[in-house]
Point group: C2
Chain length 670, copies 2
């Protein structure tokens, strides 16, 4: 530790502008200095841990040792690390001062130094050490002599203290193992909050012992038992990750009303919602019985979820049920409540009282930022950064999820560029401190346990970096390079984003060779934003999320690479680049016949034939554009544009991601 | 039901000898009659269920509907099936008489008829209906007009009432989700017993509230809580699968002694065993305190596991600790116990008393078949069929696992041919009834949660068929054809046997294109029986099971197909066959350079380079053997044999599975 401090003393300023070699680190550490040496990994590699015996480091060190051994096949002699393994002669030394508290603002910093003979990891808290262990694992490299760690000295700490992922387990239920493997993913990229969106119109996902009809009638039998919630919380705690529960109210609450219609603003009966969208059913904020119910319910959940923060949702209340209920109208008149907005504000203050009584801090979507709401709440800004800035200016803590909505299917680069505090932001330095960080939000309309990992990963790693690393780390291509490596490493934790891609292609191919399908799906993406909902099929809870648009990844990397190559070629006219472009185009042109044959054997693919045909036509135009055939008349260009315009049209909720680049080739053809 | 009965009345004899079209059914049903029509599957397909509202059929029908919709992408209108969905106009009618009891000998038969307009499934019990639903799902087919079910009438029932899979969760712990997805696999192939081997020298895997040091000190923290055990049992129950727990005693018990050394025959301290093999630590059968402990422990576990049967292991006690303990020697002298064999018999009788008091039937490995042991026990025969026959002749129930040890890595055909009651067996017809069935045994030395599915599936489906279908269903090639389809269908249940193959290849390839590795691994198999333990590496609990031998499947289907083609070619000299053989050989010959390059970038593969080289050399010889180059001198044959002999040598715990066929080509070369 002393060694490191002295090294860093004079170097910090230098390091801040010199991070050119980012290795495969993601997120990139705050500060580091690279040496020339290599620490050789051999089977006698051993880890010594010192610190409190109940610390999280033992578990993490054991998992790290097994992951390293798994990657390298070295058969480490050390089997299981415990407190009896404290030995200064072991090659790797992990030292911590204390067990960290799993709460906001806890110290997550660490120092890691690799010399040719020794690896030292030190941190004030075990949580910091966990972050350092992941950096250590990311440093593994190899050369002709075998595996090694590069010589390096790292001092690292997060830029923001709240770096989270929301998983909506309500619209589609996600079994415990899905949550666990995603917690592992979060830990690997140094995120520290799992936000569980637990209730929705489409489902109530936690066992309530006080009001059992909530889960019994509101979930189709798909909910977490309280034991399972404890299991998830323990698993997350061991990985230094907070679990923040969200119970969305007063809207998005149909599933509550199936068992307890008396909570709603209009009489029932209610049934679990299968469609998606903003629904009318809303809690009645004027009845004392509503608060009596919520008082008991929140007390039960506050005891179940140990985190200091408790999310009450509060979004997208359309107020229709309130408008239609005469008692509610009378209540508003009596209490001089001007509109539904103020009525929700009244509701929120009542809920805040209950939460305060239970020693919880309230978090809510940006709708809850209403006049007269006390300062001890946290605003989660989903509609834009403005709400976040407004909150900060008024002295509220806030977290950003606008720009991190990974369910919208945007590329990693878009999220990566979403800087919470860009230079031109309106906040003073003091106000900036109220911005706690951000959360990627995995809304659950269109995902199932089979596809959810591919919607979360690897793109969430780019958001993790935005929230952890210094703001001068923003180079997009380098991010993508590291994202690819990170994606592969995430697989070793059990994440299914790559595995299920192939499995889904196999199923779509009805057991036949899926190569022609893969060639197509490799360059398509599901429609972005909410466009999938308007393609003539009804996407409900029980729709088959097993089709082309579900197999296709949100970001088709091969298509991205093709577009990059086309841009490069247009700039530099390099023959190597041209050759690679040509190879792709030929592959896409030649694929159609085998695709047609495959679709004949697998009816689920038949509607994709026209997509495949358009891939072929586009590729053919691309090949013509780069040829020397003197074909490039104005007429050819016009006709090509017509074909390409048609190829851009979405089908099967997907779009071809190579057409825009082929257009550029046409525009640039002689 | 009446319709079916009348059809079958006169046809059973005919059907029994005419099952030529087995579709993709696995296991093949007992009796069926095929029609020419097709039931067209459309989005308005609906299922009506009638029977007791608490029956297992609702859950199963819902899962079936979702699986069908997932495969076909038809967007069925019906969302969730419950008892309000009883409607005679729905296309599929499921009728049951009663909820089945999850116990041995329960009725699992069903009748399924598909006509062009209607599908009827009827069964006495819901468990029978569950079996029928799986048959229904296996019948899905497609043609140019879309998806359909072929016209068929099936009457089906199991040949044996005990059709199980043992999973050893003790030597390597298997998390709950591994167990759940394998339960789904069992249900899909109509097996009905999950036998959990819960304790071993290497780990004690169940929470004991009475003796908490068992799991706290005996498991490295890897155990099922009692809540998780209940979760597993409930999940299995919903799928008509019994869970039989095994607590191995008096040997294989080191992990018990870490917390309770006083149970052992020699003083401790003990620590969790990391090596594999037959270990010395054994319970002391002469101390009353041992039985007092077991009495409390068994009472706790008997209440936790509802199944009527309770497995006490009883295998591989080497008796060394007993020989070394003077008190035990004195006890034997006092009680006139002649040898360790009799002492274990004494122990077993004491345990049997405890089990009887807890209303449990005892099951044990064949060692427990000792004189004077009462008849109300079940013998699980693992050392050979003889013990099973002996047991049956003496009037003991028995189940067969010898020949079904899937951990040994033998081909599916070997297990498939392992008929429990072949024609020449020594049993009378009455004695045969004591043979209850069999169990595939997935012993856990060499498997992890990542690899276990690929060791269980798809081969276990062949065993499932052996135990369910009539004995006249035995054609090997047809079994392999159906096994391939079944393997793909099992993926949709979450099983990882194919997915993790590719994931492991990606990891081994360090993120580079894994094709050259796949070409090699596609034709190698891990060494069979126990040979992997003698290859110079120490395979312990914590060894890295991430290497070539772990990625390689127990049965390399491409190599099998190659061998079949070579046999066919030698018989028939068909040019088409020759062309296919040549294509393979060229691919294998040409692979080596890219493999070498890949191994350069991934040190874990370096020791496999010689395997790849030998694949190349063998393939080259194969190509020479089928060429017309007049090369085939005696000298060439001799030299080739030397090369091929070398290529047969195991490396990295693997062997090339194409060499024997190439030898045949050489032998048959002109």
């Amino acid at each position: 530790m002393k060694f490191l401090s002295s090294i860093f003393l004079g170097l910090i300023a230098f390091l801040a502008i010199s991070q050119e070699n980012t290795f495969n680190l993601m997120p990139v550490p705050s500060e580091y200095l690279i040496g020339d040496g290599k620490f050789r990994l051999r089977k006698d590699f051993k880890i010594s841990v010192s610190g409190p015996s109940e610390s999280r480091v033992y578990g993490a060190a054991n998992r790290a040792l097994r992951r390293l051994d798994g990657r390298t096949g070295l058969f480490f002699i050390q089997d299981r690390i415990d407190h009896t393994d404290e030995d200064p002669n072991f090659a790797m030394q992990i030292e911590i001062d204390r067990t960290g508290n799993l709460e906001l603002f806890e110290n997550e910093s660490y120092q890691l130094s690799v010399s040719p003979t020794k690896i030292n990891l030190s941190a004030e808290t075990d949580i910091g050490a966990l972050r350092g262990i992941e950096t250590f694992l990311q440093l593994l490299d190899s050369d002709e002599s075998g595996y090694y760690f590069p010589e390096i000295s790292i001092y690292d700490r997060p830029r923001f203290p709240w770096r989270g992922l929301l998983i909506d387990v309500a619209r589609h239920f996600m079994p415990v193992e899905v949550i666990k493997r995603n917690i592992d993913g979060l830990q690997a990229v140094k995120m520290n909050v799992l936000h569980l969106h637990l209730t929705e119109d489409q489902g109530f996902r936690v066992e309530s012992k006080v009001f059992p009809k909530l889960h019994q009638l509101g979930s189709d039998g798909k909910y977490y038992t309280q034991e399972q919630i404890k299991e998830i919380i323990k698993y997350a705690d061991e990985r230094g990750i907070r679990v923040v529960p969200e119970f969305d109210m007063p809207g998005h609450a149909t599933s509550w009303f199936v068992g307890y219609p008396e909570l709603a603003s209009l009489p029932g009966p209610y049934s679990i919602e299968r469609r998606f969208g903003i629904m009318d059913p809303t809690m009645d904020p004027t009845k004392e019985s509503t608060y009596q119910f919520l008082e008991q319910f929140i007390a039960e959940m506050a005891a179940l979820f140990p985190d200091q923060y408790f999310h009450i949702g509060g979004d997208e209340n359309n107020g229709k049920q309130w408008d239609e209920n005469l008692d509610i109208q009378k209540f508003m008149l009596d209490k001089d409540i001007q509109n539904n907005y103020e009525l929700q504000s009244y509701f929120n203050r009542r809920i805040l009282e209950i939460l305060t009584k239970n020693n919880k801090q309230m978090v809510g979507w940006d709708e809850i930022l209403q006049p007269n709401i006390p300062k001890n709440i946290v605003i989660q800004s989903w509609r834009g950064k403005e709400a976040m800035y407004e909150a900060a200016q008024k002295g509220y803590y806030s977290i950003l999820s606008h720009g991190y909505h990974i369910d919208l299917g945007k590329p990693a680069s878009a999220h990566y560029a979403n800087e919470p505090l860009p230079n031109e932001n309106p906040l003073t330095e003091d106000e900036e401190k109220f911005v706690l960080g951000g959360e990627a939000t995995m809304w659950g309309e269109l995902v199932t346990p089979e596809t959810v990992d591919s919607r979360i990963w690897p793109r969430t790693a780019a958001i993790a970096e935005r929230l952890w690393s210094p703001d001068f780390i923003y180079e997009e291509d380098d991010m993508y390079r590291r994202l690819e490596v990170t994606s592969l490493r995430l697989e070793e934790l059990g994440l299914q984003h790559n595995r299920n891609y192939e499995m889904m292609l196999r199923r779509l191919s009805n057991g036949y060779n899926f190569e022609p399908l893969k060639t197509l799906v490799d360059i398509i993406e599901p429609l972005k934003i909410y466009a999938r909902h308007n393609q003539g099929v009804k996407l409900t809870s029980y729709a088959p999320f097993t089709r082309l648009a579900d197999a296709a990844k949100p970001e088709a990397i091969i298509a991205r690479n093709f577009r990059k190559f086309v841009d490069l070629y247009i700039q530099e006219k390099d023959p190597e680049t041209l050759y690679q472009i040509q190879k792709w185009l030929v592959k896409w042109k030649d694929n159609h016949d085998s695709f047609k044959k495959l679709a004949n054997k697998s009816p689920i693919l038949r509607k994709a034939v026209s997509l495949s045909k358009d891939m072929q036509s586009s590729a053919l135009i691309g090949l013509q554009a780069i040829s020397d055939m003197k074909l490039h008349s104005r007429k050819w260009k016009q006709e090509s544009k017509v074909v390409l315009d048609a190829a851009k049209k979405p089908r099967m909720e997907c779009e071809l991601m190579i057409v825009s680049a082929i257009e550029k080739l046409v525009d640039n053809a002689n």
